[in-house]
C-alpha cells in the first residue's frame, strides 16, 4: 500500500507542470513533494489501550484502541465539509471531546465546500503532501479513491456494533468491491418537502405518494396562482445527478452501469426519469430557474414562499421552518419521497463516510477518531440538521421527538437508498450526465438522444 518516494515526487512534478500549463491561462496552483507513510496495517505503537472517550460506543473504542498511542504528541489532519449538518462548531465540540479522552492527540480540522472536497482530496493526497489522515468521502468516490490508492481498507477493523447497528444503506457510501474503506458518518437522502398552506389552498389534504400525484397536485396548485409549484436543484453540478438518480430509482431503474461496464442509464428508469423531468418543465410546473439552482437556492425559493414543493436534503426542513430565515416557517412539512408504480419510495444515497488515508502515519488513531465522530452519541448531537445512521436512534423517542415526521420519512427511505454509479471513472461520467440532462431540459436534445450520447462516451471514460 505504501507508495514509493520517487513515484510520489513524479506525480507532484506532474501536478506542478499541469497547473502551470493549464492555468497559464487561468490561475495556477502548485504542489510540493509527498512524504510516504507506513501502510495502514502497520501498528502505530505498542502503547497501552486508551481510556474510553466520552460518548464513544464501547465496541468502537475497544476495536480502535487496540494499538492507540496515548503518550506521543501527534496531530491528525482531517479534511471535512462545510455544511449545516455537523457545522464547524459541532465538529469542534466533537474534537474537544475526543482530545479530552486522548490528550496527546491534536485534531486539525479543515472544512471546505462540497464542490472543492473531491478535488482537494485527490490533489493533496496524490499530487501534494499527502498531509491528511482522515478525509470525508462521498458515496460515488470509493471506487476512484481506492483505485488511486488514497484510502485504506478497514474491513477487518470495523467494530461489530457498527456493522449491525448502522443502516445497511449507509455502508454503500463506504464500500467498494465488498470491502470497507470508510466509517459511515453522514446518512442522508433527499426528502419531499411541501408547503401545507399552498396544498390546503388547492384542496389537497395529503402529500403525494407517487410522481404522477405530484404532477396532478402541482397542476391544482398552479391553478391557485402559484406560478411554479415545484422548484428543484438542477444546476449543471452534482445536485442534478442526485435528483435524477432519485427519480430514476422511483421509475424502477437504479442500476446505471452493468458489471461489464455497459450503460443502463439510457433505458428503463434513467430514461423515464429524465423524460418526466422534461415533461414537468414543459408543463410549466417546475421553475425553469431550477437549471441554475443548487440545494441552497431551493431552500431560499421555498423559504420565500415562491414554490410549493421540492426535494432536498435533511437540513432543508430546518432552514425552511426557521422563522429568522423563512416566510413560511411552520408551514413546511416532510414526507417520504414519492415512488411510482410498484416502487413505494426512493432515495438517492447522500451518505458520506470518513476514510483513513494511505499516507497517514497514525492509522489507528485516525480510525479511532473516525469511529468517535460516527458513534451513536455523537450522531445524535444535531438531529435537526443531520439524521443519525444508527437504527436504534430511530426507536429512541428522546431523539425523534423533535421531528417525528422527519424520522418517520427517513426510516422508510433509509431502508432502500440507491447509490450513484460507484465506478472509478465517476467524475467524468457525472460531468457528461450533468451536461446531457441539461441539454434535454433546455430542449436541445431528446432524453434518449442525450443519454445515448453519454453511453457512447463510456468506453473513453473506461480507458
Amino acid at each position: 500500500m505504501t507508495r514509493s518516494v520517487a513515484a510520489t515526487r513524479g506525480i507532484a512534478w506532474r501536478l506542478l507542470g499541469t497547473a502551470t500549463a493549464v492555468l497559464f491561462v487561468a490561475s495556477a496552483c502548485s504542489s510540493s513533494s509527498a512524504t510516504p507513510s507506513p501502510a495502514f496495517t502497520q501498528p502505530a505503537a505498542s502503547q497501552p489501550a486508551a481510556s474510553q472517550p466520552a460518548g464513544a460506543s464501547p465496541a468502537a473504542s475497544a476495536a480502535a484502541s487496540q494499538a492507540i498511542d496515548t503518550t506521543t504528541p501527534m496531530t491528525l489532519n482531517v479534511l471535512l465539509m462545510q455544511q449545516a449538518a455537523y457545522s464547524a462548531s459541532d465538529i469542534q465540540a466533537m474534537d474537544d471531546a475526543f482530545t479530552k479522552a486522548y490528550p496527546n492527540i491534536t485534531i486539525n480540522p479543515e472544512l471546505v465546500s462540497y464542490d472543492s472536497l473531491h478535488d482537494k482530496i485527490v490533489t493533496a493526497q496524490v499530487g501534494g503532501s499527502g498531509k491528511y489522515d482522515v478525509v470525508l468521502m462521498d458515496t460515488p468516490w470509493p471506487a476512484e479513491l481506492v483505485t488511486a490508492n488514497i484510502v485504506s481498507d478497514i474491513t477487518s477493523k470495523v467494530p461489530a456494533d457498527f456493522t449491525s447497528g448502522v443502516f445497511d444503506s449507509a455502508w454503500t457510501a463506504a464500500k467498494y468491491n465488498g470491502k470497507v474503506y470508510g466509517v459511515p458518518w453522514i446518512n442522508d437522502t433527499k426528502f419531499f418537502f411541501y408547503n401545507t398552506d399552498m396544498f390546503a389552498k388547492a384542496g389537497i389534504a395529503t402529500a403525494p405518494k407517487t410522481w404522477d400525484e405530484v404532477e396532478a397536485d402541482a397542476k391544482l396548485i398552479k391553478a391557485t396562482g402559484v406560478k411554479y409549484p415545484i422548484t428543484a436543484s438542477w444546476k449543471q453540478a452534482e445536485a442534478v445527478i442526485c435528483d435524477w438518480t432519485q427519480l430514476a430509482a422511483a421509475f424502477g431503474g437504479s442500476d446505471f452501469v452493468d458489471a461489464s461496464g455497459k450503460a443502463l442509464f439510457n433505458q428503463g428508469g434513467g430514461l423515464a426519469a429524465l423524460t418526466f423531468m422534461k415533461k414537468l418543465i414543459d408543463e410549466g410546473l417546475v421553475d425553469p430557474a431550477s437549471l441554475s439552482q443548487t440545494e441552497d437556492d431551493v431552500n431560499s425559493v421555498m423559504s420565500a414562499g415562491q414554490s410549493a414543493m421540492a426535494l432536498n436534503w435533511t437540513y432543508g426542513l430546518s432552514v425552511m421552518n426557521d422563522p429568522t430565515k423563512s416566510k413560511v416557517a411552520g408551514k413546511m412539512k416532510v414526507a417520504p419521497s414519492p415512488g411510482e408504480g410498484s416502487v413505494t419510495t426512493s432515495g438517492v444515497n447522500g451518505g458520506m463516510s470518513l476514510a483513513v488515508t494511505t499516507t497517514t502515519k497514525h492509522p489507528n488513531e485516525a480510525l479511532a477518531y473516525a469511529l468517535f465522530l460516527a458513534s451513536e452519541s455523537s450522531q445524535e448531537m444535531d438531529v435537526a440538521n443531520a439524521l443519525p445512521m444508527w437504527k436504534a436512534s430511530f426507536d429512541n423517542t428522546n431523539v425523534t421527538k423533535g421531528n417525528p415526521d422527519l424520522f418517520a420519512a427517513a426510516k422508510i427511505q433509509f431502508a432502500g437508498l440507491v447509490a450513484r454509479p460507484v465506478v472509478p471513472y465517476y467524475t467524468k461520467l457525472s460531468n457528461a450526465l450533468q451536461d446531457a440532462i441539461q441539454q434535454t431540459l433546455l430542449g436541445k436534445k431528446t432524453p434518449q438522444q442525450a443519454l445515448d450520447d453519454v453511453a457512447a462516451q463510456l468506453p473513453t471514460f473506461q480507458q
Binding site: 501536478l15 493549464v22 487561468a26 488511486a148 425553469p288 430557474a289 437549471l291 467524475t427 450533468q434 441539461q438
Partner: protein, 308 residues
C-alpha cells in the same frame, strides 16, 4: 589638529569586473527564480502533454506523442469551448473598448467635480472579480434578483426571466458582468492617451471648420490608435482565457452554454484528472493567445508605433 593634515590613503582598486559580468550577477537571482517557477514547469508540462497521464491511475503513463493534441483538436467539446471563448472575447472587447472610449471622452471634458466622476468610474474595476461575479449572480437571480424586479416595474418585462438558467441568455449575462467590471480599465488607459493629444490640434481643426464628429474621426481616433491596440491586446488575451467570473456565475452551464476553453481545460485537468490532456490543452490555449497577440503586434507596427 590642523585641518588638511589627514590624507586619505589611496584606494587599492582591484581590477573591475567586466560590465557584462556585473549585469549578469544582478540579473542572476531573478533569472534563477523565473527559471525554476516558469521555465521548468512549462518544460515539464510540455513533456507531460506527450503522455497519457491520469492522476487517479498512478503508475500507468504510456507515451502517446502528439496524441493528446490530436484528441483535443478532433474533439467537438474542445472546439465548442473555443468558439464560446471567441464569442465572449469579441463581444466583451468590442463593448469594453467602445464604452471605454466614450467614458474617457467624458472624463476628459472640463467640468466641476471631475475627480468624483473618475473615482466612480474606476470603482467596478477596483472590486475583486469574485465579488463582482457574486453580485451579478444575485442581480440576475430569477426569483429575487433586482434585474427582474427593475424590468417588470418599468414595464419592460411582464414575467420574470431566469437569466442564468437559459442557454440563450446566460452568456450575455456573463458578458454584461465582465463589461461592467473591465470597461473602466479600458477607459483609464484611453484617457491617458487622450490627455497626451495636443489641444491646439482641436482648436486648429475648429478654426478650419471641423465639427465634433470630424475632430473625433480625423484627429482623436488616429492618434489614439496605438493605445487602443495595446488595450485590444491586453483585453483579448484576458478575455480568451476567462475563467473566474464565469465559474462563479454559471459554473459553465446551463448545458455547457458558458463553458469557455479555460473552463473546459479546468474540467479536463482538475475534475477528470486527465493531466496529459490538461497539459496539451494548456499549450493549445497558450498558442492561440500568442497568435492573437502576434496579429495585434503586427497591426501596431503597421501604425508606425511599437511598444518597444
Amino acid at each position: 589638529m590642523a585641518v588638511g593634515t589627514l590624507r586619505r590613503a589611496p584606494l587599492k582598486r582591484s581590477k573591475p569586473w567586466p560590465e557584462t559580468w556585473v549585469a549578469a550577477a544582478f540579473v542572476a537571482p531573478a533569472a534563477l527564480v523565473i527559471f525554476l517557477v516558469v521555465v521548468v514547469p512549462l518544460a515539464r508540462a510540455a513533456w507531460m502533454s506527450l503522455f497519457d497521464i491520469e492522476l487517479t491511475r498512478p503508475g500507468v503513463e504510456p507515451f502517446v506523442g502528439l496524441g493528446n493534441y490530436l484528441t483535443q483538436l478532433t474533439s467537438a467539446g474542445f472546439w465548442d469551448s473555443v468558439f464560446k471563448a471567441l464569442f465572449f472575447t469579441v463581444v466583451t472587447t468590442v463593448l469594453e473598448l467602445s464604452l471605454g472610449v466614450g467614458l474617457a471622452m467624458l472624463m476628459d471634458q472640463p467640468m466641476r467635480l471631475r475627480w468624483v466622476l473618475r473615482s466612480l468610474v474606476i470603482l467596478p474595476w477596483a472590486l475583486p472579480t469574485i465579488v463582482n461575479a457574486l453580485m451579478w449572480r444575485w442581480i440576475d437571480n430569477a426569483t429575487y434578483g433586482s434585474l427582474n424586479a427593475l424590468l417588470t416595474q418599468v414595464g419592460a418585462l411582464h414575467d420574470y426571466v431566469p437569466w442564468l438558467s437559459q442557454d440563450t441568455t446566460a452568456m450575455w449575462m456573463v458578458i454584461i458582468a465582465d463589461v461592467w467590471k473591465m470597461t473602466p480599465f479600458c477607459a483609464i488607459l484611453i484617457l491617458a492617451g487622450l490627455q497626451g493629444i495636443d489641444r491646439e490640434l482641436f482648436e486648429a481643426a475648429r478654426v478650419d471648420g471641423a465639427g465634433t464628429v470630424a475632430i473625433f474621426r480625423r484627429i482623436i481616433l488616429p492618434l489614439l490608435t496605438p493605445i487602443i491596440l495595446i488595450v485590444l491586446v491586453l483585453r483579448t488575451m484576458e478575455a480568451f482565457k476567462v475563467f473566474d467570473i464565469i465559474w462563479i456565475m454559471t459554473g459553465g452551464g446551463p448545458a455547457s452554454s458558458t463553458q469557455t476553453v479555460a473552463i473546459y481545460a479546468y474540467r479536463t485537468a482538475y475534475q477528470g484528472y486527465d493531466f496529459g490532456q490538461g497539459a496539451a490543452l494548456g499549450y493549445l490555449i497558450a498558442i492561440a493567445i500568442m497568435l492573437l497577440a502576434a496579429v495585434y503586434l503586427w497591426l501596431l507596427r503597421r501604425t508606425g508605433t511599437t511598444t518597444s
